[in-house]
Every structure is written in C-alpha cells, then in structure tokens.
Symmetry: C2
C-alpha cells in the first residue's frame, strides 16, 4: 500500500469493527463480582450504558455490559486484577467528549467511569506543576488553580477530563505556544495488566531515564492500562492578554502570514483560521459584521509591553500579505467580543442547516501545505455539493472540517464517509497525519494503517506485550 492510499472503504472498516469476540462467561462472572463489590456504584441500565457509549459522531454506539464508578487508585487496581483474571475488557470513561468512538465497547465489557476520581492531588507552584486524578476536567482544574496565579493551558474546546485528554494526546487552540498533552504531561501513574500500579516518571522537568513510558501512555487511548494520576506542567497566568482579528484576501495570504509569524518567532498564543463560509455562519449566528473572507483570530500573552510588541510585529506581517484590517485589544470585554465568532464556531456551523448532524473531523499537515490542503478540500466540498465550514489551528497546520449531514440518511452518511476518506488521503499525501488531536479510536483505524504502514505492527507488538489478554479498551487504534 503506498502512502495516502486507504485500503477498502471507511464504511466497510466500521462494519468490521462491530464484530468483536465476546467472552460471555467472563463477562457474567465479572458482572456478578462487581455488583457484589460496588453495589449502587455498579450499573447495568441501558440508558447509563448508552450514555457511556456516546460516540458524538455517526460511529454507531456499542454499549458496554455495565458501568462502574470508581473512587480511588486502589479500586482501579482491584478491578484490573479482576478483569485480568477473567479476561474481560475495561473501557475507561472520562467526559465522553472524544470523537472517534473511543468509548465504544466492541467486545463488550465494563465501562470504568473515572469522573469521581476528580481530586487535585498536589500543586507545586514553584515548580509549575500539579498532579491530578484523571476525572478532573480542564475547567475544574483551572478554577482550582486560579488563586495560585497559574493555569493549565491545553484547551481542546470541550471541557474534557485530564485523563481523556492525556489518552488522546489532546491539544487545541493554544498548542502553537504551549504544546500538546505530549509536552505537558510530566508523568502518569497507571494500573497495568495484572493490577500493578506503575509510575512512568517523577517531577523533574526532564529526564533521560530509560524508555519514555510517559509519552507511551499519552495517546495510548486507554489501551495499555488505566491512568490513575497525571502530573502536568502549568504556566503562569499572563499579566496581559491581547486578542485580535485579521481578515485576508485569500486562504494562501492567511496561511503565509501564519508561516511568517511562526518563522519570526513571535510567541503567538493562539492563531486560528476560519474560512469564508465559517465567517458567514458566525456573522449570521452571532449578529456580527465581519468580512466574509479567510480570517485569523489571534491571541498574544505577555505583559503590556511584550503584547504590544507582538501585536505590532504581527500587524506588519499581515500587511505584507494584503491585510489592512487587523484589529486588536487588551481590554478583556472587547477581546471576548472579538473572539465571540471563534468561540461560537460550532453553534454557528449547526445553524447553517438546523437539524443536521455535524461530523467534526481533523487532519494536520506541515504548515507549508495548509493553504493547498484547505484549497483542495474546498474544491472537493464544492464538487460534491457539501456544506462544510473549516476552522483550523493554523499555527500547527491542523484543521477541522465541520461537515453537515443527515445522520439518519444512509446515503448521506456514506457521502460523509467518502468525504472523510478523501480528506485523509489528501492530508497523508501532503506529509500530514490523519489526526492532529482527535486520536484514532475506531473511526480513523484505516487511515492509521495508510499513514504508518509497518510501524503499526510495532504498536501491536507493544500492545500485546503489555496487555496480553487484550483487556484494555480493545478494538481501538488497531483491530
């Protein structure tokens, strides 16, 4: 298979995922054991099982056999020991905001709800780090941190759990400055096969001590063990934040401004791209009057002087690429107003065709290819008569297409899938990746193989060596 070629079709792949082997005897035994042990914290009602298999996309839900709500690492050790003994799948569950079927239970098993493990275990302000349980959400963490003058920067949009963000290697709008979960997780503890709890690292900011197990758990999507705590890097809350909006004549102009901004070393905190259709949707939805052309939304962090410096430097770059309309402010209310369009992007998308579902998919390419990739995707959208605004984390070359489709209509679902397939093939052909931040889950499995070929065998070997009975979130990343 050459790079960029996707084997079979996406739709076929999804069907194949559905036929997982179930260990019925083991599941029955484990259900009985957990019911006795966890009483009302063990639930088998259909509604709660369905809620724990909510895939937030058109990927069909595959319900777990039960849901258990855990409250401590000791309980995680206990349940992993039981599941290991009886070879029953465990599917960790955080906020349920993942997008590629990560919380589905294709082989049945137990959804392990981590939301009650939501304590902040330690904050070391001098070291700019903290340790949290996996069920803490990023908003909860930032509320907790407010008085320390620190914040946790990663913002994937949804109020995801830190455990889920770790497991999908999440990033979002300000990764361009602060990095992704990969750069911001210092260590995890996790319960691995058999029920032992291991620690991947301690709190030093860097280490060369053996294999990077921390990075192995970051992005493993719960397939190697259940994370029981995460040590995170924090940042000082900027003294001053400025926000700006800058329209461009063309996508290429906007992307070239992004490239030069990054190349010039301007430490831009956010640099988001919205295409003309997205701007039109935002204007309509929020009663705004922006130009309906490719637009960058920016944020700069620093003190009054440095933010001014960054903004002026960016303005020069923007004018080089044909923009005369850069406006920016350090006033918090005005900044919120400027950014309103970006913040409401999802709802604005929905309002384009009320009642339609949105398929939010992501790819990421080298930034030199971003303009080409977006332009080719626009042509594809037009050629197939689709409605699909584009929003991108431009500084990383990462963009999302919000494809509006009728999820009740098989033909429309098939069109959506075919579009996703072409989009991924396009990104791969441009030296990119099939997912910048959403993860593989079930939805992107065929593209992972197209992207990395034989390297996926190494992933399988690692999975098999660390989880020989395939109990941790089986049927994700690779079949």
């Amino acid at each position: 298979m050459t790079r960029g070629e996707v084997k079979g079709t996406f739709f076929v792949a999804l069907k194949a995922i559905k036929a997982g082997p179930r260990n019925e005897d083991g599941i029955a035994v484990v259900k009985a054991l957990l019911a006795a042990r966890f009483a009302e914290r063990f639930q088998t009602g259909e509604a709660i099982r369905a809620q724990h298999a909510n895939t937030t996309t058109y990927i069909p839900a595959q319900l777990p056999d039960a849901v258990v709500f855990l409250e401590s690492a000791a309980e995680v050790r206990e349940i992993v020991a039981i599941a290991s003994e009886h070879r029953v799948p465990l599917i960790p569950f955080g906020a349920g905001s993942s997008l590629e079927g990560h919380v589905n239970a294709p082989y049945g098993g137990i959804s392990v709800d981590m939301t009650r493990m939501n304590r902040v275990l330690a904050v070391n302000a001098e070291d700019l780090d903290c340790t949290v349980e996996p069920g803490v959400t990023r908003e909860e963490l930032n509320v907790y941190l407010r008085d320390t003058g620190l914040f946790f920067p990663i913002d994937p949009g949804a109020n995801a759990s830190i455990g889920g963000m770790t497991s999908t290697r999440a990033s979002g709008t300000n990764a361009v400055r602060y990095g992704t979960m990969k750069e911001n997780v210092l260590a995890v503890t996790a319960v691995v096969a058999g029920g032992r709890e291991i620690r991947t690292a301690h709190r030093a900011r860097k280490s060369s001590a053996g294999y990077d197990l921390t990075r192995l758990f970051v992005g493993a999507e719960g397939t190697l063990g259940i994370i029981t705590s995460i040590t995170l890097r924090l940042q000082g809350i900027p003294e001053v934040i400025s926000g700006g909006v800058c329209p461009f004549p063309t996508i290429a102009d906007a992307c070239n401004a992004v490239i030069l901004t990054i190349q010039s070393g301007i430490p831009v905190a956010r640099i988001e791209f919205l295409d003309a259709l997205q701007m039109k949707a935002c204007n309509a939805y929020s009663g705004l009057h922006y130009e309906e052309t490719p637009t960058l939304f920016l944020e700069f962090h620093g003190n009054a002087e440095s933010v001014e410096l960054q903004s002026r430097h960016f303005a020069e770059i923007a004018s080089e690429f044909g923009s005369t309309g850069f406006i920016w402010t350090t006033n918090p209310e005005e900044r919120a107003q400027l950014w309103k369009a970006r913040h409401n992007a999802y709802w604005a998308q929905k309002s384009l065709m009320p009642g339609r579902a949105i398929l939010a998919t992501d790819v990421c390419v080298p930034i030199s290819r971003l303009a080409d990739c977006v332009a080719a995707t626009h042509e594809d959208i037009a050629a197939h008569g689709l409605i699909a605004p584009i929003v991108g984390h431009a500084g990383d070359g990462n963009f999302h297409v919000g494809l509006l489709f009728d999820d009740k209509d098989a033909a429309d679902v098939a069109r959506a899938e075919a579009f996703v397939e072409r989009l991924n093939a396009r990104a791969l052909s441009m030296d990119g990746t099939c997912t910048g931040e959403h993860g593989i889950g079930q939805g992107k499995m065929p593209f992972l193989a197209a992207e990395l070929g034989d390297a996926v065998d190494l992933m399988r070997q690692i999975k098999h060596s660390l989880d020989p009975d395939n109990i941790f979130n089986p049927g994700k990343i690779f079949a």
Copy 2:
C-alpha cells in the same frame, strides 16, 4: 525497595554488567559475512575497536568484535537482517561522546559506525523542519543551515551526532527555552528486528495517530533498532542575542531568581548556574575576575526590543534576590567574553587538579529542590574531602558535578562511585531523576531501578517484544 534506595553498590553493579553471554558461533559467522561484504569498511583492529568502546568515564571499556562503517539505510537493513539471523549484537556508534558506557559491547558484537551517514536529506524552511541522517553532528547541521536563517537549538556541549542525541534524549544549555530532543524530534525512520525499516511519523507538527513511537525511539539508546533518519524541528536564528552574567550571595538566592524567572514567563534561552568553586576555577583558568560566588549565566533571544525587555525584567528579579551585579550585552564580542567562563567550564575544572580524570555525572530535580540538592551535595563533597565543582542547567533543575578523581587508583574510583551513588539517591529522594540528559547506559542502571521500580519491567517487556533476540545494543538501560 523504597524510592531513593539503591540496591547493592554501583561498583558491584558494574562488575555484573561485564559478564555478558557471547554467541561465539554467530559472531564468527557474521564477521566472515561482513568482511566479505564490506571489505575495507569492516575493521577488526584493536585500536579501532577500542576507539569505538571509549566510554569517556571510568566505566571499563568493553570492545566490540569488529566495526563496520555503513553508508546508507539500505546497508543498515542488510546488516540488521544478518545480525537478526545469527543473533549477534549491533551497537550503533555516532560521535562516541556519550557518558554512561552506551557504546560498550558487554556481549560482544559489531559496532555500527554511522558517521558516514552524514547527509542532510531535506530542509523545509517554511515548516521549520529538516531531515538528516544519524551521523550528522549538530555543528555540521548548523553550518549547513546557516544560509536558511534557521538553526537547530539543542546544545549538549559535545559536538554529538544527531543520532546519538536522539538516542540519549539529549538536551543541554538551551533546553529551558527550546526543549530537549523529546520535543524537537518530529519523526525517525529506524530499522527494526528482522531488517524492516519503519517510519514513526511524518512531518505534521503534531499528531494523535496511535502510540508515540517517535518518543519511544528518542531515548531508547539504540536498544530497539537502528535509526536511519531523524526529522527535526528548527528555529529561526534570533535577530538579537543578549548575554549576561549575574552573581548572587547564596545558592538559594540564585535558585530563587531562576524560579521566579521561569514563573514570570520570561522566555530565557539559557540560564546556567555555576557554583563558587567553578567560578574560582574559571577565573584561574581564563584569567577572569568574576566574584567567586554562585553565579548565573544568561542568554536572551529575540529582537532588540524584546531582548531589552527580558533583560530588564530579569534584572528586577535578580535585585529582589540580593544581586546588584547583573551585567549584560547584545554586542557579540562582549557576549562571547562574558560567556567565556561558562564555555571553558570543563577545562577550568580539569585545571583545578591537572592529571586527574573528571567524572561528569548528571541528576535533575524539580527546580524548587535545586538549591537544597546543590547545598546537600556541597556538604557531601566537603565531608568527604572531594573536589567537585558544579555546573547546572538551572532552568530545568538539572546539574552536573565534575568530580576530580584519580582513575588509576582503585580506592579513589570507589570513592567516586560512592559519591555518585549518594548523589543519585539524594536526587531521587527529592522527586528527581538519576539522569536529566546523559541517559542510563550501563552506569546508571542501578539508579533506574531505584527511580522507577516496576515500570522498568514494562520497558523490558517492550524491549523483548520488539527485539526478541536482544541484538540491539544489549546490556544497556536494564540488564
């Protein structure tokens, strides 16, 4: 074993390392095959074998059976296939500047010299990335890049090869701003067991596509395969660089100034700590007249305005912690003069006791513990009558002790080893790591177990699954 406790003694551990099983028949067959295949690029002379097992410390050399000089990825595939078939160890060799016995051949086998694989394969200036063969040194790369306006920032001191830096997860003086190899390697290609070449990722700046195999190879010390290319992030050469020197009354004052600098978000490019003894040595060696007190050496990158801003901001912090002597400059010659003491630190150390060997060891602790760890180490040095100046990458909590000792005197070697053991136990007890940037190799094996306990079993499982015949640099990281 509780954290910080080191099992047995270091000396005993080193002896144990020496008794590796040798596959004599396989080695003989492979030697014959390689001699026929590579002619004069295959060498068995003792001098060249000894040069390829130069451990640069007191760790005894363990010579490979032969050295082969490879020139292409195809040749790497070929030799790995041969070694896999005959189960003979391969030890990749770059610049030979590693410090913990990484290039030793405890089980015999073939040293695979990568220095002729030194091509820069691609530079993508717009994406701030490049792809190089593993034998390129960091200085060669920066010379190559000069005309592009870009540079590769990681600077471990030695002119190490990019392959070696990748394999030891190297960092150095400017990791505080630009990160370590972990943050700066976008992808590698590597030949794995059996002779297949895999690619861990493509050129997108971020990806959530499956397990992070890139980070698994970064820091694997050649134990999982032989790296054939590395894709690196690059940075724009700063318009202006300012350098500064700042003496402090005490270690605690210097460290507190570092903490506040980091907390304030000043994007300092280098912030190096030299202790009083090191300053004394530098003055004597380079004919300088610095105060012989704990001193920070700083570098700021940016444009004229931002560098001025950073320097002024740091000066305020320094004065809060009792320093009135901060001097800085943007003039390149003056900056070189200011930094001369830091650049000559190693030679200045040597000049303290000419003829003695230097044991350069590294540990890393959370920055809040740096002052405590350095102070306790000073007490240890004084209590044992040792001579051991300290230089630290203070922004990362990483420091090096340059212990002067007589490597011909068994008693002095034993004293040095005992000191290293106490130093590592101290760092571990402070939530730190036994190595911030040198790697485990052979020298730090006992400390890795003390640091990560059961997690080392996961590393072994991964090693066994990816290298079942233990041919890639066996006897490193774990026995």
